[in-house]
């Protein structure tokens, strides 16, 4: 018999199984917390931070990512507050310039309406063409955790971070898999990758940034 944890989410008393996250516990009682990098089949990643909630325990309030925070006895969770709304609004505005059309854009627009975000706020600051990748890492993690092919990875650091197919492995696994096409929330992979080119990948393409 699993141990049950009592907590409070948005004023509701909630019983949750020990070991699940705040995000999961909220979902079970019908409270939706927005996510961008979360994927049910994957380990919590905590990169998009849009699932942030306020957690109060022992008189201390903290902003945490609900996708990775385990439920704790007696904790009080607020999934909406002035602070949380400000964080979500800012995150939507920050990620908007990376997007173009299709995929997750619809969801981001809905979120923008909900949180009063102006998706054009930072367009001028970036002065860059949209990459169409929000670096949620779902493809990278799916390829590693579910498919176990490890054919996609991150390169670069900081603002230079990007997703690449790792040529040697991609040429072996990708032509018969392509599961990341479905996983990618922005549709970038399906739109930009012609499966037939995988076998021709070389390390030089990779280093020169072609992929």
């Amino acid at each position: 018999m699993e141990k049950l944890i009592s907590l409070e989410i948005d004023g509701k008393d909630v019983k949750a199984r020990e070991g699940i996250t705040v995000l999961e516990a909220a979902k079970e009682v019908g409270i939706e917390i927005p996510t961008l990098c979360y994927h049910e089949k994957l380990e919590p990643y905590g990169a998009c931070r849009i699932c942030c909630v306020e957690v109060e325990r022992g008189g201390r309030t903290q902003v945490v990512a609900s996708c990775g925070y385990p439920v704790e006895e007696g904790m009080k969770v607020k999934t909406r507050s002035e602070k949380i709304d400000k964080i979500r609004k800012t995150i939507i505005e920050l990620i908007a310039p990376s997007l173009s059309d299709g995929g997750v854009v619809g969801k981001v627009r809905e979120l923008a309406d909900e949180y009063g975000a102006d998706t054009s706020t930072f367009m001028s600051t970036f002065k860059a063409t949209p990459t169409r990748c929000i670096l949620c890492g779902q493809c990278v993690r799916y390829c590693s955790e579910v498919v176990a092919a490890n054919a996609i990875g991150f390169v670069g650091r900081g603002v230079g971070r990007r997703v690449v197919f790792l040529p040697e492995r991609a040429s072996r696994f990708c032509p018969t898999c392509r599961e990341c096409y479905e996983v990618c929330p922005t549709g970038k992979i399906a739109a930009e990758t012609d499966g037939s080119i995988f076998p021709e990948f070389s390390i030089d393409d990779f280093l020169s940034g072609k992929m």
Binding site: C52, G68, Y69, I91, L94, L135, G156, R157, R161
Partner: protein, 637 residues
């Protein structure tokens, strides 16, 4: 050397080493830390060796290459013992005179430090104001020992704390002592080390790991580096004691590959420690086993973050992960892991030897002991300083650092590296203390202290640190990555004179969100330089935006170079050096700058002889029209 098998054998060996050495025998010590190495202490060493050989004094005078002494500004440094005579800026050609001086017990006046105010020559190292006001504890042994010699370390009492812990104390007593000492982590956050140790000890799961964080990477900071280079055994000793208290049998040292000397000396020290029996099975006959592995970091600032560091040791890219469960519960390979910084570990042997009461007698209510800072930037005495907690910033910058060069005005001091903030003059009397520094928006950090004078533009400085983080963060979370990108964009606009007033609140909003919502502490603190400069130097931001003026005259787009016609002596120097040919005029003709051709490289400003000082920078004001062909009127001598 055969393994030491008991505490008695260790003491016997120590007595043997002491017996072999005559403390009255003259010894020339030469600083070979990174800074002195850069100013050619290597060739000074060769010259000294040659001289000792030539004058046939090899047996009578010792020569020892030590780690960093601290007074890097004046390197290469030589200190002659037992008198403790300190020579600064020593060159290879001084070697003969130094050796002869030691032989004849004569002091070489010209190589002594002279007080810049009174001109008085100071003979002894400890009387130099830079050293006099310090309390060199953890960093102290650096100047006495050769880091490659475990015998040197044993001579000054090395590994006696380990011996004491293993022979007279239970692991619980060691832990209790560290807890009572209120030792707080020296790496930045100031988390109580004892609590971290206890959490690791009590966490379920085996094995447990202890790890040294030597991934120091803040611009301008090199304390950990110098400690690891100069006294690696002290770090190893602290680590073994910690492992004993926690119940760990395997440790790691994460050291950045860009610190070649630290890596080298660490390997030598580990090999020696193993050979002497301080590492391995049944240490000193106590039954305690402990081994250390070295992980050389591939150089990313973000890898210094605890979860990123452990991920890196696991062989993956150094990226932080969510740590709602502490690293002390689930760290390296999901096992309880205790990570402390180099300086924290090196402090442990002192606490064990002298006791927690002694440690508590140094410092402030909330911050005990001493702290090493790297005092750099616009300050006269650049170097590494160790002071008791509670000393004020003013004392460090003025009494130890000797104030600001060229009589310029102090503007701010950046503590805590890219995660810290810039502290203005009105807080100079703030005592050095983890909590006090946090209160004024900065932080202790690992101990970088960059002094800035009136010629530093605070917007440009904030931009510099943000740019550093843009390149040195991991890029994993949106607030960290995109937030930094936006901050850099806005700050760059302001520096280029394109800033808009309505962007300041945006800057603050993004910075606040980064603080609240970033994945790790690097992202959460990366906006501190922006937030503190906005708080204390908002007028500079406004001057850039509203008046298109850079008050410190740094931001290229907002300044013009101008040659004062009254001051110009038509010496042709700037005219010849200008890379774009923008300077007009000629022999006997007053020079003037054709603004359209000027790329604002500042060469004319630098080369104009100080006695003329004709080239000036203008910002926020029109450049007076030149008068071509005007002849120079020379002042009568």
């Amino acid at each position: 050397m055969s393994r030491i098998n008991s505490f008695a054998e260790l003491e016997k060996l120590r007595q043997e080493i002491k017996g072999k050495r005559d403390s009255n025998k003259p010894c020339i010590t030469l600083c070979s830390g990174t800074a002195c190495h850069a100013s050619a202490s290597e060739s000074v060493n060769e010259a000294l060796e040659r001289e000792l050989d030539r004058q046939g004094l090899k047996g009578e005078i010792g020569l020892r290459r030590t780690g960093c002494h601290g007074f890097c500004e004046k390197g290469p440094l030589v200190v002659v013992y037992p008198e403790e005579t300190c020579y600064i800026n020593v060159q290879p050609e001084d070697a003969a005179e130094i050796v002869q001086g030691v032989k004849e017990k004569k002091i070489i006046e010209r190589l002594l430090y002279s007080n810049p105010v009174t001109g008085e020559k100071i003979v002894h190292e400890s009387e130099i104001p830079f050293y006099k006001n310090q309390q060199r504890l953890v960093f102290g042994p650096n100047r006495w020992i050769d880091p490659e010699s475990i015998e040197d370390y044993l001579y000054i009492g090395g590994y006696s704390a380990l011996s004491k812990a293993l022979s007279q104390m239970t692991p619980a007593q060691v832990l209790e002592e560290i807890k009572k000492a209120n030792l707080r982590g020296r790496g930045g956050g100031g988390f109580p080390a004892g609590r971290k140790w206890e959490e690791t000890k009590n966490a379920p799961g085996e094995p447990k790991y202890v790890i040294v964080n030597c991934d120091e990477g803040d611009p301008g900071a090199y304390m950990d580096r110098s400690l690891m280079e100069g006294n690696p055994h002290s770090v190893i000793e602290g680590l073994i004691i910690g492992a004993y208290a926690i119940g760990s049998h395997e440790g790691f040292v994460y050291v950045r590959q860009e610190y070649p000397l630290a890596v080298e000396n660490l390997y030598i020290a580990l090999e020696q420690a193993e050979e002497y029996g301080f590492l391995g099975e049944n240490i000193l006959g106590s039954g305690f086993n402990f081994r250390v592995k070295v992980h050389r970091g591939a150089g990313a600032f973000v890898s210094g973050e605890s979860s990123a560091l452990m991920t890196a040791i696991e062989g993956k890219a150094g990226e932080p992960r969510m740590k709602y469960i502490h690293m002390s519960q689930r760290g390296y390979k999901e096992k309880p892991s205790c990570l402390n910084n180099v300086e924290t570990w090196a402090t442990v042997p002192f606490i064990i030897n002298k006791g927690s009461d002694w440690f508590n007698s140094i410092g402030t209510e909330g911050s005990k002991g001493t702290k090493i800072f790297s005092l750099v930037g616009k300050v006269n005495n650049t170097g590494l300083v160790e002071v008791p907690m509670g000393m004020t910033l003013r004392q460090i910058i003025y009494d130890i650092g000797g104030g600001i060069p060229k009589g310029r005005k102090f503007k701010g001091v950046q503590t805590g590296g890219p995660s810290g903030g810039i502290i203005p003059e009105r807080y100079l009397d703030t005592p050095i203390d983890f909590d006090e520094l946090t209160k004024i928006g900065s932080m202790m950090g690992s101990g970088g202290m960059i002094v800035m004078d009136e010629d530093t533009c605070m917007v440009d400085m904030a931009r510099y640190f943000v740019n550093f983080c843009c390149e040195e963060s991991c890029g994993k979370c949106i607030p960290g990555r995109e937030g930094l990108r936006v901050l850099l964009g806005i700050l760059t606009n302001i520096c280029e004179g394109e800033g808009k007033e309505e962007e300041l609140p945006t800057l603050e909003r993004v910075a606040e969100v980064m603080k609240d919502a970033s994945l790790c502490a690097l992202g959460a603190t990366a906006a501190n330089p922006v937030l503190t400069t906005l708080r204390y130097f908002r007028d500079e931001y406004e001057a850039h935006i509203k008046d298109k003026r850079c008050p410190a005259k740094v931001c290229k787009n907002l300044i013009n170079y101008y040659i004062g016609p009254e001051k110009c002596e038509a010496c042709m120097i700037c005219l010849r050096n200008c890379p774009t040919g923008a300077i007009q005029g000629g022999k006997n003709l007053v020079h003037w700058i054709e603004q359209d051709k000027c790329i604002k490289c500042g060469i004319c400003y630098q080369v104009c002889p100080e006695r003329f000082s004709a080239v000036e920078k203008l910002s926020g004001e029109p450049v007076p029209a030149p008068v071509p062909g005007r002849e120079v009127v020379r002042k009568k001598e």
